[in-house]
Amino acid sequence: MSKEVAIAGVGMHPWGKWGRNFVEYGVKAARDALKDAGLEWKDVDFVVGGDTMRNGYPGYVAGSTFAEALGFKGTQIASVYGACATGAQAIDAARARILAGLAEVVLVVGADAAPKGFFAPQKGDRPEDRDWQRFRLVGMTNPNYFGLYARRRMALYGATSEDFAAVKVKNARHGLHNPYARYRKEVTAEEIAASPLVADPLRLLDICATSDGGAAVILTSIEFAEKRGLKVPRIAAINAATPTYPNPILDMPYIATDSWAVVQPDARGFKPSIAYGAYEEAGIGPEDLDLAEVYDLSTALELDWYEQIGLCGEGEAEAFLRSGATTFGGKIPVNPSGGLACFGEAVPAQAIAQVCELAWQIRGVAEGRQVEGAKVGLSINQGLFGHGSAIIVKG
């Protein structure tokens, strides 16, 4: 049995700081995706919503909320959450129901209206919640974790702030013509160096903002797509797995790693395992990719991903970037959409937006940012609290 499903349509609401209800963004994205697929709301037999945790109860039950806004019609629904991996879990739930023969046409939607500034934990005194512990006891914001990884790269591989800035310069250029991107403006290394130091060694322009935005995909069975004559990309793999104990890397939101005194850590490590789990499912390797959308929560993190998804060897990311390999015309353009650098993060929408970009690229319609001959793409990210998220899309 084929484990593939068809991406019949994709849609987005532009990222920005619009100050409206997240539901509007999701509905716009959903309607665009339906239109893109040539399908109607009445054709949908399963809705999966990616939850947002900062928009009250409607955000907790996003599947129902979006279904209601589009018009309740007795559809099966699900609402899922996995931090930054929310979109991958949502797409995975959709795929499973299609492959199980329980649904033919599935709508997956994620949208967020984000607050200004740092993501903060739920209010209240909860000493047992690691998200409480890290803020209260160590003052660890998300950018602090990105700072740790960046300093580690500098110490181990001699990376410099100029290397990090070069990622931003590249991504800003990539996103210049993306109609869904929030920031569409070139950025210079000097501007980055002049921006305030937020989390040493990272500056404001090294770190992604929080945005409002929405994204949706319509997935169908391969048979349904063929019957309709849709020539569309397919999802070849999804990996939404946890780490393996012990995890020797200090991931968000922990204040300590597991101990590897007794149990040997997995040789691969968590972040590489996210990509390689997907490669194994799709039966391909990193050398087969034409493009990748990776989570550049910080500039330095994009460099980590190059190595973790196997585009280059350990410690080689800076040289790989400088060679032009990861921009248009290079060996494998990374974040042709402009990435989080141009979008800012809208948590439950982001991993879905990555898949939208892969679909547009593979269909050859990514105007102003098209990767020539794109046939196979990977989207990847990691969510806090042990969430892997990788999706492989094939033409």
Partner: protein
């Protein structure tokens, strides 16, 4: 280093059971699984998180009070609550991730003043100290922090 000088304030830990309150030689409190011997910090009390082990017998143990700086960062802006700033006007502070040799784990902590991120270097020796997290009119709330080993730092 912070010393308990003449104060009338009550000195309390920022969280129960994560560290000892000995001002001279504070220790982090972890747990160790009696079955498989693995360590946990914060102290896991319910069940061993080693997937090969379903023991629920976890013993409190003191962790190493010295280690090697795995990496570090700093906060240029005030973190959101439940972080509490010790000063009215926020002052940037460094955070350190320290690798413990015996337990083979990395443990985070703030870095006490007057040290800043500019005093830190990956690979250097760090030691555990007890330092105020913040104070109220009645209480001085203490937490563990990591500071460069004397002679090993630049201050």
């Amino acid at each position: 280093m912070f010393y308990f000088t003449a104060v009338s304030k009550k000195v309390i830990p920022a969280i129960e059971g994560f560290f000892t309150m000995d001002p001279e030689a504070p220790r982090l409190l972890g747990t160790q699984c009696k079955a498989c011997q693995t360590y946990f910090f914060p102290p896991e009390r319910g069940y061993c998180r080693n997937p090969e082990c379903d023991s629920e017998e976890l013993e409190t143990v003191e962790l190493s009070h010295e280690g090697t700086l795995w990496s570090y960062s700093h906060n240029g802006y005030k973190p959101p609550p439940p972080y509490v700033s010790p000063t009215e006007e926020f002052e940037p502070f460094a955070v350190a991730a320290v690798e413990l040799e015996r337990e083979k784990m990395v443990v985070m902590g703030m870095v006490p003043k007057p040290y800043t991120h500019e005093d830190l270097k990956v690979g250097q020796r760090m030691q555990l100290v007890l330092d105020p997290l913040y104070e109220t009119d009645e209480e001085r709330v203490m937490v563990w922090k990591w500071r460069p080993v004397e002679g090993g730092g630049s201050k």
